[in-house]
Amino acid sequence: MSSEVRFTDFKSDAQPTWCPGCGDFGTMNGMMKALANSGNHPDDTFIVAGIGCSGKIGTYMHSYALHGVHGRALPLGIGVKAANPDLEVMVAGGDGDGYSIGAGHFVHAVRRNLDMTYVVMDNRIYGLTKGQFSPTSREDFETATSPEGPQQSPVNPLALALASGATFIGQTFSSDAQRHTEVVKQAIEHDGFGFVNVYSPCVTFNDVDTYDYFRESLVDLGEEEGYDRTDDEAAIERIMDAEKEHQGVIYQDPDSVSYGDEHGLENSMADIPEGAPEGATDLVREFY
């Protein structure tokens, strides 16, 4: 693999318009490093971005990229990967894009298990529309559309992933650059759907789930002796623990077989002959 690729090769010359201090800077830097560290090249990488602050990422990175409509980033990524398994496909979106409008696709993308990476920049707030509660906002989180809090349980995305048959569940914190990069790299290298929920604080509209909060509350499973990431019961225990927030690779199925391998997807579908493909006439004969 090309060792000459540096993470800055994945950086475009566009100036981010994220608020100063936004967690998305760290999230994106880690993604670029993880892509470079795992030997990828911008010309062979496809970034799909959803809608929201997170969706701007395709502009700030340099690769092939598509910024879609709200909530449909995962189906786009699936189409790209199925059509050309040689591409490194990374889908990035926010908690609104992935767990609200796109929640249905999340369940099915997880269970299809294509060999791609899904990074969710979870800030527990709708930032781009200037501060409404998100599916991961706390029950009492006050916003313009929830003056007394949403008064409904937040989505537990890790539990949703596990229940959907996830083969890789990671969680990171944008400001812990080293661990974030490591986990995203492992998600890239995982043979299947590498899902990483990234705590990516919004400094403008969320004064509850702050850098300080995550710094103080996160327990790193990488530092916990004896934690077995392939043990799904241990994963369930951590994921359902309402008292603690965890970072690291929480679950990985060592026997994961990706969708592409399961379905024999090997080659790019982009190359086609100049006329009907060989054997097409047999299709006509079938109708005798």
Partner: protein, 625 residues
């Protein structure tokens, strides 16, 4: 009925009705009606006869009734008629449902030993042929083969060699083992022999066979085959009547050509997967029906704005909402031409026959890539459920040409990079068509977005760039108008005073109606329009004609509205929206009525007799979304 009277009138004028056989098998849903009908249709096709099939799903009386109807002739046929010569009735209701189509020479094959049919008496002078279908099937190896026994009897009634059934029985049952096939062949012969041995009556049918070789396929299959021929490698879809057969056809076939089919979780996902695959460089498509097009509308705008080649097929059915899922309608035109927020440049191509389903699909893929734009490929339920014979040469794979448009490789990319070495996927070119690279191409990396963007594909709200990009996307359609032949399919007498315009599957019924009217002395020019946007310029044709009649399966005349807008002239309208396709007999009558009417938009009656029947009926509650 008016049609019958009209047909008799034609007969008295010395016009020969086509020597066609109209055959049907009907019963309850779950009786194996479809596969039984298909076996007989294939047998007729193998015997060198043309076949045109239709399906009755829903009932005028109550739910559960279904029938498979075959019209067959040694001559080419393109339409259904309302006459039934031989009917296999597994239930008494099958006869009741078809009373209008049966006549004195009709033969009804039924099992008089079954309690549900033991009191059956045929109406009028027609022949009721009681055959112990179940008993003979049990003797041949199992009651399940009773429909095949009936097919054997039908062969005897039609003067059709029962051995023609063998090949289709092998095709149908070959996977279940040779003894099953042998039993079925035996069952068919038992049904035939019963007629020879036990029945004294003779029958007026003695059908001819020919040496011609035909293939038999429906519109969905033709679309699927066309897609593979055109190099389509990726398909994502969500099951919906009547488009599901496109997906079922491709599944297990496109893989052999290096492709893949995904059954998505919904239509939103399906179109986005298809778009993702197209961004990766694959020829990609999805097919759905009206409700799915509704769901896909937002992404349709994204496809156009990102200038991605994609084929989206709408096999129309009766709407709005869940409508009548198994019934015919051409009600989606307004949506296909105008649907989606903002202004979306697009190409809309429609198939008018089953063979055209194949040809227009191939064309749709080329147009999509040449103009880097979404293409709606339009068909309708009547095309999708009809099986029709064609000479195999109609689907000439050697003639398929692939044009991938401005797809760049290697050194060409440099020409389209800016001073910062960035590729410009949305460069505002003179003809509007930008250079295109697919992922994996060195030096071609770029992003794109549904946000208004600059030539790099990056978001912008710059007022000048906005205008430049809107204009360049629109210019692609103008370029397409200049470069392509947007012609109509013309039939009949080019100098006729009466011009009939149509889109979609009505073409066949109109052509056959024209033959009848010609025999009566009325010449007609038909322009059947496959290009719905951009459209052929019909101004001259309309100005030359004394009467212009637009025929379509909807209530409001959506195509007629478009034509009136295009040429700033009024047209007459023949509409049908009871869920049943046009047939040649009925259409001939209505064209005659329209010619005589005062004219003006909406004046022509819309077959209210049929409409009332439909509204009085309790339609089958088959919710298939």
């Amino acid at each position: 009925m008016i049609q019958k009277a009209f047909a008799r009138a034609l007969g008295s004028l010395g016009y020969d009705m086509p020597e066609d056989l109209n055959w049907a098998v009907g019963g309850e849903a779950g009786d194996g009606i479809d596969s039984t009908g298909k076996i007989f249709a294939q047998a007729l096709s193998r015997a060198g006869r043309h076949v045109f099939t239709s399906k009755d799903f829903a009932s005028r009386i109550r739910g559960g009734y279904t029938a498979y109807k075959i019209r067959s002739s040694t001559e080419r046929i393109e339409s259904v008629v309302d006459r039934l010569d031989v009917l296999i009735a597994l239930t008494e209701r099958t006869v009741e449902e078809n009373t209008d189509e049966l006549h004195d020479d009709s033969v009804i094959i039924y099992d008089g030993e079954r309690t549900m049919m033991e009191d059956f008496e045929a109406p009028g002078e027609m022949t009721a042929l009681s055959v112990p279908l179940q008993r003979l099937a049990e003797d041949a190896g199992g009651a399940i083969m009773q429909n095949v026994v009936a097919l054997g009897t039908a062969c005897a009634v039609c003067g059709f060699d029962v051995s023609y059934l063998d090949e289709s029985l092998e095709k149908r049952f070959g996977g279940k083992g040779s003894s099953i096939v042998a039993n079925n062949k035996q069952a068919a012969r038992a049904g035939r022999d019963f007629v020879a041995e036990e029945v004294e009556a003779t029958f007026p049918y003695d059908i001819d066979t020919t040496d011609s070789d035909y293939v038999l396929l429906n519109g969905d299959e033709a679309i699927g085959m066309g897609a593979i021929a055109a190099g389509c490698r990726f398909y994502a879809g969500y099951p919906i009547t009547p488009a599901t057969n496109v997906m079922e056809y491709l599944k297990s076939r496109v893989e052999g050509f290096g492709g893949h089919v995904v059954q998505a979780e919904d239509e939103l996902s399906a179109i986005n997967m298809a778009l993702g695959a197209a961004r990766a460089g694959a020829r990609s498509m999805t097919a759905t029906s009206g409700p799915g097009i509704d769901l896909m509308a937002e992404t349709f705008g994204l496809i156009a704005t990102t200038e991605t080649p994609l084929v989206i097929c709408d096999v129309m059915r009766s709407g709005p909402s869940t409508g009548m899922p198994t019934k015919q309608e051409q009600g989606d035109l307004d949506m296909l031409l105008h649907g989606g927020h903002g202004e979306i440049p697009r190409i809309v191509v429609g198939a008018t026959t089953i063979a055209e389903c194949f040809h227009r699909t191939i064309e749709a893929f080329n147009l999509a890539e040449k103009y880097q734009t979404p293409v709606y490929l339009v068909a309708d339920l009547a095309l999708s459920v009809t099986e029709q014979t064609y000479p195999p040469e109609e689907f000439d794979m050697g003639a398929v040409e692939i044009d991938r448009g401005n797809l760049l490789q290697g050194e060409d990319i440099e020409e389209w990079t800016n001073e910062s070495d960035q590729f410009t996927p949305h460069a505002a070119t003179e003809d509007g068509i930008s250079p295109r690279t697919i992922p994996g191409t060195a030096g071609g990396a770029h992003m794109t977005t549904g946000l208004e963007h600059d030539e790099l594909g990056r978001r912008t709200e710059d007022t000048d760039i906005r205008v430049e990009q809107v204009d360049k996307r629109q210019r692609k359609v103008e370029t397409a108008i200049e470069r392509e032949e947007w012609t109509a399919r013309e039939f009949g007498d080019g100098d006729a005073d009466v011009l009939v315009l149509s889109w979609g599957s009505n073409e066949g019924a109109i052509r056959e109606a024209m033959d009848r009217l010609e025999a009566e002395g009325t010449s007609i020019r038909l322009l059947s329009v496959p290009y719905l946007s951009p459209r052929p310029d019909l101004t001259a044709a309309i100005e030359e004609a004394e009467e212009v009649i637009v025929v379509e399966c909807n209530a409001t005349g959506q195509f007629a509205d478009v034509i009136e807008h295009d040429v700033l002239a009024r047209v007459k309208r023949i509409n049908k929206y009871n869920g049943v396709r046009f047939d040649a007999d009925g259409l001939a009558t209505r064209i005659t009525e329209a010619i005589g009417s005062d004219g003006g938009s909406g004046d022509s009656s819309d077959g209210s007799d049929e409409r009332n029947e439909a509204s009085d009926a309790e339609t089958e509650q088959e919710i298939t979304t």
